[in-house]
Symmetry: C2
Subunit: 350 residues, 2 copies
């Protein structure tokens, strides 16, 4: 499945790079996106799109090809999100390699000061994200001529909703960054919009819509996907605080320095003693946090019990998703694949 | 015409703001985009879209409504371009008001350091641009159900082309920034992609496609639009160097400090004496350029004759466009409106 999705993406960006060169235009952006896509990624959204299509009763090579094509569009949209996210967070690495803006800055260093190269690299990455967004739309449109008008009519609003939801999730996340509170409510809302809907619910529903699924199945998929997606993001937060860079592909201190209003830190603030709270506030989100202070901060997250509380939340949410899954009116083979995916999402180390 | 286009845009962003509030989501982005759209702008692209539709033989209220709707989508796309452009250029003002990232940074100042507020403002503006791009697509899609399949099939590839061309134009512009040379060739390529195709050619052709125009008219519109669009950007460069902030709505020194590889500066470098050339290189693109040095730089642009050479190029290109216009097989009233627009574009002071 992954090979098929990547085949669509590789062929698309390679064609864009060739077309640019043929017109005498720079191929920097398609090449940078190609490198980025080939560097890895879990391809969860395309996989859920295809599983959603199967859950909705989709069968046959033609329909599968459409689901793969739409899944590839979701992955290209995700590339857009990540490229802009890394610009906004000023992240240096992703998937164990320099982020797109860093890679482009290095490319543009010749003949420029470091400061100018960084500016040009960041600007080029903003454009690369913009083009990834436009291209995700082209990949999606390439699927449309093969769709029935009713399928196309269901697909478009769901895709629009997914795109808008993740953008609002990003806004909420941004506005809470640097201002963490003991209130987990806002952190859970961020998780719902930024991850649960975007990563799990909508891709499944988009696939199901391609298969012509009805309202009850859409709601059942939602009841499965939302707790699973929340577990996915809670795991991400735990990995961001405690994970190993070699496994996550991200620097160990990025999340701690960024100071996002996560459920993890909210729970720590809730449980913190009067002595711990000011230390948590001082260390979490400090852009110049060193490894020693990071260890103090990690110890605080453990001593307050926040890490175990989040593990409980992950376990609860996975159990909830699996309970819904057991009652889902979908083929047994799809159920088993969704169950395996749920396990992988919740207990992953990268 | 402008009122109709703005009516579509206002209703759209107001509905987005209400929908966000109804879901408990922040309305910062739709409100910021609404403020930005209401602050001004020339609405050249929607106007050319409607004139292209009329040039293609479009008549009747229903078709006009579609052309206006598509024109509004082009204007929302343009808002996306400008918001990201201002982030990339770190511009402080646009249309005589703070740019979107500046306005958002001011909004997010409470409870944050200035540095953090600036970062959050810039990130929120990247998201605002992203949403403007997504929303331009929604506005476009809202026009589609009323279109014949053949119309829709012509519209989409042209819109995709327009979007991609302006992105590549921005890339070219970016890569040449800070490295101006006496070669006008690259500067003219930037102008073609970033402005002539994006601002004039494609909007006219998109309108014509809505009216079902054939290949010969598309080519004739292109022959009119490309020189006109080049004149538009050449005028922009002159205004950027010599214009008054009160008229342009942009700070007087932004363009000179930015150091873009414009035709104006290429011609100055071509004609510069051995004494003038190093001074030009030292001053143009200096991010800390003061008003006194700016006057020296403007004097250099004048003394080398570059300003007059660009005025000639503008005159030539307008004459070329008008000659094509005289032979265009379009209704006389459309021809007169295109002629008036050409005059306004070339000789504008803002």
């Amino acid at each position: 499945m992954r090979r098929r999705v990547d085949g669509v993406l590789d062929a698309f960006v390679d064609a864009k790079a060739s077309a640019a060169r043929a017109k005498g235009l720079p191929d920097d952006v398609p090449v940078a996106l190609s490198d980025f896509l080939r560097a890895g990624g879990k391809r969860i959204r395309p996989l859920l799109c295809v599983l959603g299509w199967q859950a909705g009763g989709g069968v046959g090579e033609r329909g599968l090809g459409q689901a793969v094509q739409v899944g590839a569009a979701l992955e290209m949209f995700h590339a857009f999100c990540l490229v802009h996210d890394d610009v906004m967070d000023r992240s240096d690495t992703r998937r164990g390699r320099p982020t797109v803006h860093r890679a482009l800055a290095a490319r543009y260093r010749t003949g420029r000061t470091r400061e100018l190269a960084d500016t040009v690299g960041t600007s080029a990455a903003i454009l690369a994200g913009d083009l990834a967004l436009l291209w995700s739309d082209e990949i999606l449109q390439a699927a449309e001529p093969g769709l029935e008008p009713a399928q196309a009519a269901r697909l478009r609003p769901l895709v629009a909703l997914m795109r808008e939801e993740v953008m609002y999730g990003q806004c909420l996340d941004l506005l809470a960054t640097g201002l963490p509170t003991p209130d987990t409510g806002p952190a859970l809302t961020v998780i719902r919009y930024k991850t649960a809907k975007y990563t799990c619910e909508r891709p499944l529903q988009i696939g199901a819509a391609l298969a012509g699924a009805d309202g009850p199945l859409h709601r059942a998929l939602s009841a499965f996907a939302l707790p699973l997606g929340e577990a996915f993001q809670l795991r991400d937060d735990v990995l961001g605080a405690f994970g190993h860079p070699q496994q996550t592909g991200k620097p160990a201190l990025d999340d701690l320095r960024e100071g996002k209003h996560t459920v993890l830190v909210s729970l720590a603030l809730q449980a913190a003693t009067p002595a711990q709270a000011p230390l948590l506030h001082a260390l979490y989100g400090n852009p110049r946090l060193g490894e020693e202070d990071a260890e103090t901060l990690r110890a605080l997250l453990r001593d307050t019990g926040a890490d175990r509380a989040v593990e409980h939340m992950i376990t609860d949410r996975c159990a909830q998703a699996v309970t819904v899954l057991d009652g889902l009116p979908v083929p047994a083979v799809v159920r088993e694949q969704l169950r395996a995916l749920a396990d992988r999402i919740a207990w992953r180390t990268a």
